[in-house]
């Protein structure tokens, strides 16, 4: 909680503090520690902790109704679906585990009865692919970002005027002129008074439009 307490005091006082990467790191650290702690605290729910009804309901959400297009058991009013739910309830009362009950239905209707493929065998692809998509996409974004940065540094070395005339290159819409000025004036005054928004700061620095 130290980060938030610290932050709170910052909110109260208006004296500017030196910029610090530490504050960011502390915030990140706070999140990085508290989230796994929360996970540990809340724990994983065990199937033994659930009532028969809760387990039956969960299973009925995990199994497809074989005769209805694309509906899980809990959504379907078809007779077969009602019968299957009765079977689920009976099997839970007989002490079978969720996995055993799922296997029972797979043996009868094939894998298609599972609403999501089991993470094993060939179906591991179904589960690995999302991770590949996420990591691959993240690498692409980071790469694009680094490339842009490198190009920018090269450009800046070759052409120093670019920076100073940047706002002239910015296509300003004529109608926006007055509004923009009003807004900017507001923000600059606000900045002087102390209600500094991050936009106001950079805007004052390099004349960007909001």
């Amino acid at each position: 909680m130290s980060a938030t307490d610290d932050s709170l005091s910052m909110l109260m006082s208006s004296t500017p503090r030196p910029p610090s990467i530490w504050r960011t790191l502390v915030s990140i650290g706070f999140v990085a520690i508290s989230v796994p702690l929360l996970w540990l605290a809340t724990g994983c729910v065990n199937e033994d902790d659930l009532t028969t009804d809760q387990r039956a309901y969960q299973l009925s959400q995990q199994l497809m109704c074989p005769v209805c297009d694309g509906q899980t058991l809990d959504q379907s009013q078809a007779q077969l679906s009602l019968d299957m739910q009765a079977v689920i309830e009976r099997k839970i009362e007989e002490g079978e585990s969720n996995a055993e009950i799922r296997d029972y239905f797979v043996a009868r209707y094939g894998e298609v009865v599972l609403a999501s493929p089991d993470a094993g065998g060939f179906n591991i692809i179904a589960w690995v692919m999302p991770v590949i998509i996420f990591v691959g996409g993240a690498l692409l974004v980071v790469n694009a970002f680094l490339n842009m940065r490198r190009n920018r540094r090269d450009d800046a070395r070759g052409n120093e005027v670019e920076e100073s005339t940047d706002s002239a290159l910015e296509p300003m819409r004529p109608g926006e002129v007055m509004d923009e000025y009003l807004e900017r004036a507001d923000r600059e005054i606000a900045a002087a008074v102390g209600n500094v928004s991050p936009r106001a700061e950079t805007d004052a620095d390099n004349g960007d439009r909001n």
Binding site: S7, S27, S34, S116, F122, T165, N210
Partner: protein
């Protein structure tokens, strides 16, 4: 009527083909007359689509069963009010409907295109015309709604009973129009690209139409969810069904597009990327229309199955090649002028937003095609449904909510960690408090707690923006707080409209978390006079009402809902708990503390012609939770089998709808000063140029 209709459709083929050819020839040969003629042909295409639609409508109204489509989708007893529904209830009619929708929107967009876009216009018109020609051509050859029957039946078959509901007026036409309408921003982007005048001129009009289609699609999807939940009695609102997914995917990509197009508008960046996004959205919309027409995936929406899917799939492949080809061809001109300056900037937060949206889209696409893939690869059928999508998309959606909180706090170009940190204090404190409060009150679901914290974080960030902005105006301009806020939002409508949409998304997130993690359900069969108890509700089955008609057997369960004092039922609660039951049934009447809070009348209808059951749920709603009742079956022994659930926070799903619409409209609302300036510029009046601003500034 059938002759008028068929003629109109063939005319449509001719007119759109003519529009495409004249536009291209006119542009290449620099013949302005041809270009103008091509453009006007789009209006003609709309006109013939209108004539064909009117012909079909009249055929329905006059019960013209010599037309096959009318005979299949209407009958004499059907209320005339449902004629419009029958119009797009099956393949041929819905094809005519999307043709009409696209022709109308094409005509509007062509009319609204700014003059400075004229150089690229012929190509845009040609693309629109080709798509229209494809739709007209498909109708003319494979799916003519005016196909006649040799033996005229005395009565029609009637429309699919699941569709016989006012909800069908809104959800399907909106989704269909939104999907086909993505053609418009695509046509403008591609037109600009082909013409080589790839400045930023296309950005404004493409943005406006992209937001319109995004709004239509978004409202359509939400209405579908609402319809499924409140009326169809599916129990849920979103089941990650393939048809739902193919509408969601283009919507996600459009969401990415309308964010990143702002970067191009303001900073001239992401040019290449924006083209890629609109191309993907267009291709996905084609995929959606193809899957809608039946084919390779199983769906609850398979109302209209046919081989047309394959035809649409081929058109999608051609579109993909076309988009790819012009992209490669014009690649050298697509380089951005500027690069991202800092990771701590609005630009890069849009980049992250785009990344997350596309990840959700790609994962969803993977889930949709995996069954097909599995079937092809090893000849085993698998299902990929809600449990899969919730698990793989859930964490990414959570991340997206967090980024939604940080993104708006970052200014364009760059910022310092210090000022960002200062802005993050309030949201962080609020999020931490949420976690503490939830855990203190015994909410221990990890993902739910994290989700609520993220929602608080993002919500507080938006309100902080409004609060600080309005406060600056109050203290500096002496405005009243509400005036200050109003003017602040008015000053930059795209941004503040966006914030309003963010609030809608957060409201949606609250509903999703509540219903996904905390729902309770209990099914039981009870006789009249008996009650079912779940949580602190007692549902007394009073009686049933029967309506036996030739086409259907409709039965209603009349249910009194009581709030109970659990202490009065402690014995039963204990017994139920020991038996592993969520709820229990009681035979006796009222006990002290019982309080009648409402009456519900859910229904169960059996349609004889279709051998199909359709239920209507009974819902007692409140901001805290919904009590949701479905009569699953009326049994022989007078009992009714009820499925009762408590869906916490469900109302927030529907509150999101109007807020979403409001935000979309705010973002779209034209800017009066901008309009005036544009008019002045057209009249040749000088306005301050960029250079004079620089002069003023220094």
């Amino acid at each position: 009527m059938d002759q008028i209709g068929t003629t109109a459709i063939w005319l449509g083929v001719a007119v759109s083909a003519y529009a495409a050819i004249t536009s291209l020839v006119g542009a290449k040969g620099a013949v302005p007359e041809l270009v103008v003629s091509g453009r006007r042909s789009i209006y003609m295409a709309f006109l013939v689509a209108l004539v064909a639609s009117a012909a079909l409508l009249i055929a329905f109204l006059t019960n013209d069963f010599s037309i096959k489509y009318v005979a299949n989708n209407s009958n004499i007893v059907m209320g005339r009010g449902y004629t419009l529904v029958a119009f797009y209830a099956a393949n041929e009619g819905s094809l005519l409907y999307i043709t009409l929708a696209l022709a109308l929107m094409s005509a509007i967009s062509v009319r609204a295109a700014p003059r400075r876009f004229a150089g690229a216009m012929p190509y845009t018109v040609a693309i629109l015309a080709v798509v229209l020609a494809f739709l007209f051509g498909t109708m003319a050859t494979y799916a003519n709604p005016f196909e006649t029957l040799e033996i005229v039946p005395p009565d029609g078959r009637g429309v699919n009973p699941l569709l016989l509901h006012p909800g069908f007026y809104s959800h399907p036409p909106l989704v269909m129009a939104g999907l086909v309408g993505i053609t418009i921003p695509f046509a403008f982007a591609s037109g600009a690209l082909i013409s080589g005048e790839y400045g930023d001129d296309w950005v404004d009009i493409a943005r406006v139409f992209a937001i319109i289609m995004w709004g239509i699609l978004g409202v359509g999807i939400l209405l579908g969810a609402w319809w499924a939940y409140t009326i169809l009695g599916w129990g849920g609102y979103w089941s990650w069904d393939p048809i739902e997914n193919v509408a969601l995917m283009p919507w996600l990509v459009l969401t990415a597009f309308i964010h990143s197009i702002m970067v191009q508008r303001r900073r001239g960046m992401f040019r290449m990327w924006n083209i890629v996004l609109i191309d993907i959205a267009f291709i996905l919309a084609q995929l959606g229309m193809s899957i809608n027409r039946g084919g390779s995936v199983v769906s609850v929406h398979s109302f209209a199955e046919s081989t047309l899917g394959l035809l649409f799939l081929s058109f999608m492949a051609i579109s993909l090649l076309f988009a790819f080809a012009i992209f490669i061809w014009r690649y050298p001109r697509l380089k951005s002028e500027r690069a991202i300056e800092s990771f701590m900037s609005r630009e890069s937060s849009f980049l992250v937003n785009n990344f997350l949206l596309l990840v959700v889209m790609s994962i969803t696409l993977w889930g949709v095609i995996y069954p097909v893939f599995s079937n092809l690869a090893r000849d085993v059928d698998v299902s990929v449904s809600a449990p899969y999508f919730n698990r793989v998309n859930g964490p990414v959606l959570l991340l997206m909510v967090i980024v939604m909180g940080i993104g708006p706090l970052l200014p364009w170009r760059r910022t310092s960690t210090r000022s960002l940190n200062r802005w993050l204090i309030a949201p962080m404190v609020a999020a931490s408090l949420t976690v503490i409060v939830l855990v203190a009150f015994g909410v221990w679901e990890f993902w739910a707690v994290l989700g609520f914290a993220a929602v608080t974080f993002a919500g507080v960030a938006v309100f902080e923006e409004w609060w600080m902005g309005a406060r600056a105006r109050v203290s500096n301009l002496g405005e009243a707080p509400w005036t200050a806020w109003w003017r602040l939002a008015n000053g930059n409508r795209p941004r503040h409209g966006g914030y309003i949409v963010h609030i809608a998304v957060l409201s949606l997130a609250i509903g999703v978390i509540g219903t996904q993690f905390f729902d309770q359900r209990y099914d039981a069969a009870i006789a009249p006079g008996e009650s079912l108890v779940l949580d602190d509700y007692r549902l007394e089955y009073v009686n049933k009402r029967i309506h036996d008609r030739p086409d259907r057997l409709a039965r209603w369960a009349q249910i009194d809902v009581y709030k109970i004092d659990p202490a009065q039922y402690s014995g039963e609660f204990l017994a139920a708990k020991n038996a592993g039951k969520q709820g229990f049934t009681v035979a006796t009447g009222r006990r002290p503390g019982d309080n009648l809070v409402g009456q519900l009348e859910p229904s169960h209808e059996f349609f004889r012609n279709f051998n199909m059951v359709s239920v209507r749920s009974g819902i007692k709603t409140s901001p805290i939770e919904d009590l949701y009742v479905i009569p699953r079956d009326f049994l022989e022994d007078e009992r009714v089998s009820l499925a009762v659930s408590i869906n916490p926070l469900a109302m927030w799903l529907w509150i999101a709808g109007p807020i979403f619409l409001l935000g979309t409209l705010v973002a779209l609302w034209p800017h009066p000063t901008l309009e005036r300036a544009a008019r002045r510029r057209r009249l040749g009046v000088t306005v301050p140029t960029d250079a004079s601003i620089v002069a003023l500034e220094s």
